[in-house]
Symmetry: C2
Subunit: 155 residues, 2 copies
Amino acid sequence: MPEPSANADFLAQWRFALAPYNLGYKVKLTSQLMYRAFQERLEPHGLTPFHYLVLCCLWEEDGLSTSGIADKLKQLGATLTGVVDRMESRHLVYRERDPSDRRIVRIWLTEEGRQLMQVLPPLGAEVIEQATANLSKPDQETLLRLLDQVVQNLL
Amino acid sequence: MPEPSANADFLAQWRFALAPYNLGYKVKLTSQLMYRAFQERLEPHGLTPFHYLVLCCLWEEDGLSTSGIADKLKQLGATLTGVVDRMESRHLVYRERDPSDRRIVRIWLTEEGRQLMQVLPPLGAEVIEQATANLSKPDQETLLRLLDQVVQNLL
DNA sequence: CGAAAATAGTTAACATGCTAAGGATTAGCG
DNA sequence: CGCTAATCCTTAGCATGTTAACTATTTTCG
């Protein structure tokens, strides 16, 4: 077992790659806390933050395919299958096979799913306001820009 | 059903709170992509990124309690129980009840868990390098600082 | 035209990550 | 000293989110 001081030197040297100081952990924790804050607000509607992501895609363009939504959100198809299952059981969306290409399942909003467009975005805005309470406008824009760059680097 | 143009106006107005443009989604996606990149590198070792988080805590201070690790990582106790279960089954750590307070379970590194300190941080550093490839040093520091501020706002 | 490749979606198994609840133990208070 | 509150950890159930494999369908290519 190496001397404690050798360990301490090693840890000091690699601190930028170690939790809870590293970028990966900070991003993960930020994501978790925003998720929790949003989940609290969605819970009265019986929804989860991922439901919101799918609804956002469909409010912008109803009748997207499962793979279309997956592409927009950069998620795997298997993930979408499970989420759409649960949204269907909550009568937010319904599935319909595309008649011109029977491989494709299209996801359509129900009236309830459509109505939520008036209700949910303000809740999302509240979370963003809370998260960025003491950040200047330029800092908020910088944060979004830097996240976009990290995403581009990893895609 | 409101006119399409009314919907489009509404969506334009709330765009900053809608996926895939909103802060929450960007942070989530960034976290997922960093997780995937790290997972690819850890897979040959049979580890997951969360194992790494726990190992980081124990490399810095061996013998932490389950709740101590949970506090450091801002996770719930139930989450730690499951992760430590799996790390134990991989012989990375072992559990020992604290003799002076039998409520407490302390988590100790095995020799294998200790040895990984030489191996894993460089892999984490690779992910960070890839993620921040075209970001200047000041921009990297800004990103970390802004994430810290968001975390503070949400805690 | 037919076979192979590609696409779409689902299923199964596993790893988080959450809430709620319960058992065991210790701390605090009257 | 005894009871209550608090703490610690675990368990159970549910929601992602992954990989791998499968079925069904369409596209591509020789």
